[in-house]
Structure formats: C-alpha cells, structure tokens
C-alpha cells in the first residue's frame, strides 16, 4: 500500500509499504477513506517530537471501512464504516474504566520508554513516535487498529466523511478544552490559537454555554473563520502590544474566566520571551516554546481555569507560577479522552448543532501529502485544515 512516512525533519514521503495485517486477536484492519493532517503532526514534521524513526508511518486522524477483524472483535463487521480515535485504549484497565482513555495502562508497547520520560506511560497513539508506542499511523491506504472492539465508532451512511472525520481528534480535543473550562453562565473564555483545535474550542465553548469567546491569533483567515463562523471576538496579537490589557478591557477588567491554550509547544509570539524560547528549542535545550501558556496564566481572571489543549513535550522554565498561585487558578490538560466524546459529539453532529466540515480548506490526494505538509506548516494559501484521500 502507499503511506506517508517520516524520514527526518521536514522530510516526509509517500512510500510503498507492506499492507497491515491482524497481529493481535482484538485488531481490525481499516481501509482508509479520509485522513487528515493534524497540527500536532507538524511538531513531528518540524523535528520536535523525540523517538521518531525513519520509515514510521504518520497520521492519527483517519476513518474508513472495516476490511478484516481479529477473532476477539465481536462488535464490528467487515464493511462497517468507522471513525478511529487517535488514542489507542484497551477498555479494561482502571483508567479506561474511569473514562480516562488517553491514559490507558495497556496500549503502549513502549511503556517503559514513556515511563523514563514522563514517570508513567499514557495510551499508545497512531503515528506519533516510539515514545507513544510506535504504532503505524493512518495517512495511508490501510491501517491496523488495535483494541478495535473498544475504539472505533460506527458511522451512519448518511453522514459524509468531512462531517465525522474530526471526531477522531480535533473536535473532541477542542470540546474537551472547553469542557475543562467548567463554563458557568456569564463566563468569558479566551482561546489562544485559531488553528483547527482552536476553532472547535471556540464553537464548543458556546455549545457549553459561554457568554462570550475571545479568539487570539495573527493569521487573518483564521481570525476570520473564528469571527464569522465561530462568533468570536478576535484579537490579532501582531497588532496588539498588550494582550493581557486587551483581555482586561474586553472583560470589564475581570480577565477571562477561562483561558484555552490551543497553540502548544510551537507557539509563535512577538515578545522577548518568545525569541529566547525559540533559541532554546532550536538548540534542544528546551522542547517547548511556552509563550502562549505564560500569557494565558498572566491574563486569566481570579479563580479562573487555564485549559491546555496544545501539546507540550518537555520541561519549561520561567513559568509565572506565583501569578497562578496568587489568582488561585486551576490547570486542566492532557491528551484528549476521545472515546468519552465520540457518541455525544456524533449526536451533536446528527442533531445539527455543529457541522465540523467548516474547518476544511484543502482536499488533496494522499500522493500530494508531502506538499500538503508544506503548505499547512507555512500556512500558504490560507491553509487551515487538509483532508487527504488515499
């Protein structure tokens, strides 16, 4: 089959690789009909995720048709149309049974490696480095889906791929970011980063009852999407010298009740701190560039919540912990517990509360994936979200 493989920083290729096969009794094989490039794939593309090996297949947002099932997969049949959550979860460990699916104890074959990095291992992820299990990803014609009796959700035929594909990651990720804000009536939520996750966080915050959402970015097309479709008040940080003050002004001096970091470890910024972060990251002294996180902590109102949806990978310094402590902030974060949101968010889509296809700006073939990575990274041609068709 053809698959998008990683060969080094900025070097992804479409290679011919062996077709996947059933390895464990709870596996299934899915023929992929749609697959997307995630913002977090760019962290790999840019070389910031450790433990990648040349030849690894990327991609964790994919859906398709079941073509083969292992002998212990009783709930799926060949021909079923499914979306596949990006986190692989066993369904039977303590964490899965408590809806903490992305913290699954059993799905990372390289759990020992993750233990050394992070103290404990979370779930294995598709196409996201050997630290997260080294599973082959879904930017391919076929994928092997472990614990297929737990993860994949069957999709009714009347819903097109574009409407349900993002159940695999970015819709639940944006939704969980908003849910983590514990939104109460009258709450104002600020969202840093108007990429796909930010866009879903904005809409989800309104779905969960936010009074007002303020969106922060610098790319006009992303701010436009946030304002027009998302109904957010937008701030272009490139034109706003003091974001914290701007947010105060927009919230009657109280500050946002919740701040969502939908940017993560490769945040851009204009301050001195963002340039020193960049230097540290390039020299690998620091994995992450935490400019947005610092700003969110500075801006958040008293007793508020900082909700982190963007990925962080390592140790960061100069965090304003005194500020966080003085304001009594709550921090919520982590890989999305996708399984928890699949059914409720599918209901939302079927009910017409949201049509996730709004975020798609580019449709390309799998063969064009290397080009797609490039335009997505460089935000050429107003690229916000790419869907690939194998």
């Amino acid at each position: 089959m053809r698959a998008l493989t990683w060969h080094g920083t900025g070097d992804v290729r479409v290679d011919n690789v062996p077709d996947p096969a059933i390895i464990n009794p709870r596996d299934a094989i899915v023929r992929i009909t749609s697959t997307a490039i995630c913002g977090s794939d760019l962290h790999i593309y840019d070389g910031y995720i450790p433990t990648m090996e040349p030849g690894d297949i990327l991609g964790h947002e994919f859906m398709g048709e079941v073509v083969e099932v292992g002998k212990n997969v009783g709930n799926l049949q060949v021909g079923d149309r499914v979306v596949v959550p990006f986190a692989i979860a066993c369904g039977s460990c303590y964490y899965c049974q408590h809806e903490l699916w992305s913290l699954c104890d059993n799905s990372n074959p390289n759990a020992a490696l993750a233990d050394r990095f992070y103290g404990y291992s979370g779930a294995g992820l598709y196409g996201y480095s050997h630290l997260y299990g080294g599973y082959a990803g879904g930017q391919a014609e076929y994928a092997r889906v472990p614990f297929a009796d737990v993860g994949p959700l069957k999709i009714p035929d009347n819903l097109p791929d574009d409407q349900v594909l993002f159940l695999t990651d970015i819709f639940p990720t944006g939704y969980m970011a908003a849910e983590n804000c514990n939104i109460k009536p009258g709450d104002i939520v600020a969202v840093w980063g108007c990429g796909p996750v930010g866009q879903f966080a904005i809409r989800s915050a309104y779905l969960l009852g936010a009074e007002k959402v303020i969106a922060i970015d610098r790319f006009p097309e992303r701010l436009r999407m946030a304002a027009e479709g998302g109904n957010a008040i937008t701030i272009n940080y490139a034109e706003t010298p003091d974001i914290v003050q701007a947010l105060k002004d927009l919230t009657g001096g109280r500050g946002p009740d919740a701040c969502i970091d939908a940017a993560g470890m490769e945040a851009h910024g204009t301050g001195i701190d963002s340039w020193t972060d960049r230097a540290k990251q390039v020299s690998r002294v620091q994995f992450d560039r935490p400019h947005v996180l610092r700003e969110a902590i500075q801006a958040c109102g008293k007793g508020g919540t900082v909700s982190i949806a963007g990925v962080y990978a390592g140790y960061i310094d100069h965090m304003p912990m005194g500020v966080a402590f003085a304001k009594g902030l709550t921090f919520k974060m982590g890989q999305t517990h996708v399984h928890r949101y699949l059914r409720p968010l599918l209901d939302r889509i079927e009910h017409g509360d949201i049509d996730p296809s709004f975020v798609v700006t580019h449709r390309l073939s799998l063969d064009e994936a290397p080009h797609a990575y490039e335009i997505f990274r460089d935000k050429q041609d107003d690229c916000i979200k790419v869907v690939l068709t194998p």
Binding site: M1, A3, T5, H7, R13, D15, V17, P18, D19, P20, A21, I23, N24, P25, R26, P50, T51, E53, P54, G55, D56, I57, N72, C90, G91, S92, C93, Y94, Q97, D105, N106, S107, N108, P109, A111, A112, L113, D115, R116, F117, G124, H130, G133, G134, Y135, A136, A140, Y142, R144, P146, F147, K280, R284, V285, Q286, F287, G314, Y315, I316, D317
Partner: protein, 277 residues
Amino acid sequence: MSEMRHDGTSPERLARVGVSSDAVTDQHQRAVRSGRHRASTTIRWLPIISGIAVAGYGLSRRSKSGLLLASVAGGAVTYGIGRRRAHDAPDGEHSIRIEKVITINKPVEEVYRAWSKVTDLPRILSHLQSVTDLGQGKSHWVANAPLGKTVEWDAETMVDQENRVISWRSTGETAVQNVGAVRFQEAPNGRGTELRVRIEYNVPFGTVGSAVAKLFGEEPGQQVEDDLRRFKQMLETGEVATTEGQSRAGSPSSRMDAGMDKVRQFADAAASVVGNR
C-alpha cells in the same frame, strides 16, 4: 514501578514482601555464595572477550552512539581484567536485587491463579523460554540471557499461601542462583491487586556486564518490569500490546540501532532537564 537496587540482603525488605525473612536470607546467602564459587573461568573471561568485540563494533560505527558503546564496552574489558585479578571479592558483590510492583485491575484470586500456573508463564513473560513442572513444588526454568544465551535452573517453592504470597529459590548447579517472592495484595477501593515481585540473583557477567547488557535491551530490572507489564496486559486485556510485524517503510532498524537511538535521546532529554535547572 520501583527502582532496581544493587545492595545486599536486608531482612526488613524481605519482610516487606511478606516472606519469612530468616529462612530466605539464609538460603539466599548460601545460594549466592555457592554460585559465586562455582562461576567458571569462561564466565570471568567473557566480559573481556565480548567487551573487546563490542568496543570494536562501536568504534567501527564512527558515530556518537558508536563511541558511547565503545566506551561502555571498554569499561567491560577493564572490568573483566579487574575481575580476573580480584575474583575473591567479598560475598554478595555480584548479587542483584530487583523489586518491582504493579497494580493489576483484577481480583487477587484471579491474579494469584494466573501466577500459580508456572508452566503458562513463558507465554506471557517474554524472557522465559520454558517452565517445566517437576511435581512436589519443584520446577525447571529456562530463561533468555544477554547476548543470545540461555540460563537454566531448578526451582523449589518455599512458601505458597493462597492469594497472599509465593516464594521460591533455585536449587543445584546454575549460573544464576536466585531466590524470589511474589506478594499479592488487594488495592484500595476495588482498584485490583498490587503485585509485588522481589528477585535476588547473582550476575554471571557482573555489574558492568549488566551495563553492556542494558544497551542490548536486556537490562535485568527492565526485564522484570517488562514482564510484569505483559502479565498485567494479558490479565486485563487478553493480549500483549505490540507493533512487531506492522507496516513501515524499509526494514525495521536493528535492535541495536533502535536501542542506541533511544540511549542518545535519553541523553538529549537529560541535557534538556539540566539546561533548565
């Protein structure tokens, strides 16, 4: 999971894993002592020979990882020579104790039952080749050793209290005299079973040999940790998570290359931490 420790026997720690400490300590010390005296000349020469071979390979790679490998292997050569001069070192010098604990989301009875079927263990514990039940609490074990070798021993059960503890020791001639105990304890509020394993054994290649073995992914504490994780996965999910045999471009990088990459990345990660402090 807890860390591997390299120190000697202490009755308090044995007591903590629920074994009658006097008996185990005595037997362990006898076992380790007799094993050391039986260690063959070949075993003492092995670090020298394998160290030179590995150092040569490391240097031939002409890379950072190769140099790291060469320097560690060089240590093995030095160790081997030193070991030949000082093979009358004090008792217990080369005993290793490993203590690991894992929580399994299953009732104590089920976990105990699974562990009691020793002949089934090699299906779960990748580092075991076979276990043969010889009856009357005796069994024969074959395990994978570093550098593609195997080690064998006979074991006898010392304590077997249902749903509480199983302990054993090796008997007769073997390169790895060992004694161990597994304790089963109910975790709080229905969180399953805390499975605590403690194994002590003498090391055929010594501690530096163990460091070289670590580069090959056969570091002993890691073996036990990996095996416990597999045991937990098998009990909780009915299978062991793996990516072996999955699709990728090109052939999978050799175990050595992957291992060395990881070592390098650990070093990078460590540097990142230090740089931030």
